[in-house]
Symmetry: C2
Subunit: 436 residues, 2 copies
């Protein structure tokens, strides 16, 4: 009979009240910390970031021990060896995390920058000045090094952060969270400026996504399912980091050797990355022997080719698979590439507009006019000319560590560094002016 | 029996299929036009804006005649005289609209601006360049002058726009839409770069809000209900223009005469504006006779005072109403002001943080330290020092016409001009570099 009484329902209601209260407490503490943070200048915030780096170095053995628990659990849960490798922390990787932090601590401060300033004819002095966003809610998967990178980028930009990592990394992240808060406290900064969400309940994330009075921005970084779920539930603005369906278009004038190497690198160098290429667009007027060299180099690297009719006919003796309609929209993240023939720059741009994810596209060409048409007409966050799509990356662009690569167009586009975690305010100084 | 057969349901299904198709057609045409627009330089786009201004001037009589139909319908529908006045177009107002357009045509072009550019050690040339957002979906109420302003701001920034005005202005807007498309066509630009949504079905708006492949940004400008409904339904990013619960904080050191005039102007000069003040925060240490002068000037202007206990006790002989808890969150848009006593800058900031809408707040003070604490700690889009909240406005800030005042923190904050309708892309030029 116990199975049929009301207790489970009441338990569920109590649970959900409890989660609401937990979410409210996290959000209120983060907001309060963010309001306190404005009182600390760049040097103070830098010193706190260095203190975190120091703590990583000092407590390496303990971090490795906690990480071992995650690895053990992960192995028991049947995580793939690739996922276990992403999860793993060893002294070398921890030293790399500390190095990242010291680099972020040394970056110029994005806060308090005068974006514009003008004295109007009525004497009002109007300045547009960069300020922190406030509180960032960062939801991410696996890699524990992202925990310290994200915390440091937020401190660099004067923001408080709520960190919600994957449950696979919970032991590692709990220790990192404690160690960060200790470093903040010992530097005199509010410890709650960086909070790790230690509960692994999914419903708690849902509750936090309702707290738009306290939280200013949500960044979900992970699989498409995570990003969609967050976008649908959130009352807080979301900066999405969707998939990369990246294209390389080979113009007839492309340098043949360059084309072979750049297409190979774009696909093969790290196929699991979002800036790896998924589709190759070969111009109809491209010399078939040059096209063949590009394709052969991919085949030699073990890449599966999925071609449209024109490509399969032209190079009929290569081991093609038929590309289906869904192939053009696919992010393989693997040694597979779809290959289409296009008739000129405009058709390449039309294909990209219909199937791309506005992430990164490349043109390989020695013809200035075709390059300019492609650069102008390609509506993606990164447009590469005669170089690999794999360079679309915060580090490669000189931003230092990145909190993600935005596929949105608003606010920040492409690799996002500390400066992209700012907004601005208008400061208007007068001497009693009133509006007539 | 006719009333009970299946026809109405089928009719409804057909209607909704039809609306979906109409939305798809609007969105596809707008996207195509936006892709064509990148081929037109600033001078071509300016000439098109001037052609619209010319058309307004040439066809003034016809515009007045169409507007008369809206006014007649509005009067029949019982619109208030204030709403009818907002709706009204006469030759003088039409001349003003044309003047706005010529001013926007003369603004500097926000497109193609190099935000940053660097050659990396591997030889890659990396530029961050401003580009149009693509397609803007603008949903607004009443005033038909907003139609031409919004169209011109989008052309200035190379965007296509879908305009969905209020049904009160449908006759005026239909003519303006035609006139704009004629001017675009005669200037050689794609006419569909500016499309007026002529159907007044609310469901069509809902369908358009699902078209996130084609539409890049939604700006709802109007009442809170409209903005909330749009935000909830939209799959497209929304820039919100919520209410302004603006505060004026009077520090004990404020110049007494300045405080009387600035508080009066902030509340009384145009109470229906979002940047009018709704709450007055009087410092506990403010000289009571100075506080009294401020309050008396408001009373003389017909303002209703709603005070907290401390204010009512201190100035017991004034005609107060009791402020209830909800008063602190209220945007009156009328000659009503809530008045609270606060103990110092921090308590003023705490009140604003708890009840404000992050729009515009002012401090009146002659003490530099209190001013800097307020400016730093106030998380609003505009912070005024010794001047009226009413100055928070695109025109007053030198942006020219504004498409709205953003109360969001992402992308654009406060008054938004043409430059705020841009995003950027990264253009990376190489000579065959591959990633190692």
């Amino acid at each position: 009979m116990g199975d049929f009484d009301l207790a489970p329902d009441i338990g569920h209601i109590l649970d959900s009240m409890n989660l609401k209260a937990i979410a409210a407490a996290y959000a209120a503490a983060a907001k309060e910390a963010s309001r306190e943070l404005v009182g600390f200048d760049a040097a103070r915030r830098s010193r706190a970031i260095v203190a975190i780096a120091q703590a990583l170095e000092d407590r390496t053995a303990q971090i490795v021990a906690e990480n071992a628990k995650d690895l053990e659990q992960g192995a028991a849960d049947g995580l793939s060896s690739a996922m276990l490798d992403r999860l793993k922390l060893d002294p070398k990787r921890i030293a790399g995390m500390a190095r990242d932090l010291r680099e972020i601590a040394g970056q110029s401060d994005p806060i308090g920058r005068e974006i514009s300033r003008e004295t109007r004819s009525n004497g009002l002095d109007i300045a547009k000045v960069s300020v922190p966003l406030g509180v960032v809610f960062f939801i991410y998967e696996s890699r524990p090094n992202v925990t310290t990178d994200a915390a440091a980028l937020c401190l660099r930009s004067g923001n408080a952060i709520l960190l919600r990592g994957g449950k696979e990394a919970i032991h590692s992240n709990r220790l990192l969270g404690t160690l960060i808060q200790d470093a903040l406290a010992s530097s005199g900064l509010p410890a709650k400026a960086v909070q790790l969400v230690t509960e692994t309940d999914r419903e708690l994330v849902g509750e936090l996504l309702q707290r738009d009075r306290e939280l200013d921005l949500v960044i979900p970084r992970g699989g498409e399912g995570l990003i969609r779920a967050v976008s649908e539930q959130s009352k807080i603005p979301v900066l999405k980091h969707y998939k990369g369906v990246c294209h390389v278009y080979v113009h007839p004038t492309a340098d043949p050797d360059l084309a072979v190497e750049v297409v190979h690198n774009s696909k093969v160098q790290r196929p699991s990355a979002c800036n790896a290429s998924e589709t190759l667009l070969l111009d109809r007027a491209l010399d078939p022997s040059n096209a063949r060299r590009i394709l052969q180099r991919l085949l030699d690297a073990g890449v599966e080719l999925r071609g449209d009719g024109a490509c399969r006919t032209r190079h009929f003796d290569l081991p093609w698979k038929d590309a289906t309609e869904s192939d053009w929209d696919e992010e393989y993240l693997a040694l597979v590439i779809s290959v289409a023939q296009v008739d000129g720059v405009q058709e390449a741009l039309d294909h990209i507009s219909a199937h791309g994810s506005s992430h990164t596209e490349a043109i390989l060409s020695r013809d200035a006019e075709s390059i300019e048409r492609f650069v102008l007409g390609c509506d993606s966050s990164s447009v590469m000319v005669n170089t690999s799509t794999r360079f679309a990356d915060g580090g490669e662009y000189g931003l230092g560590a990145e909190i993600g690569i935005s596929t949105d167009k608003l606010h920040a586009r492409g690799p996002m560094g500390a400066a992209d975690l700012c907004t601005y305010k208008w400061i208007v100084r007068g001497a009693g002016q009133v509006r007539g």
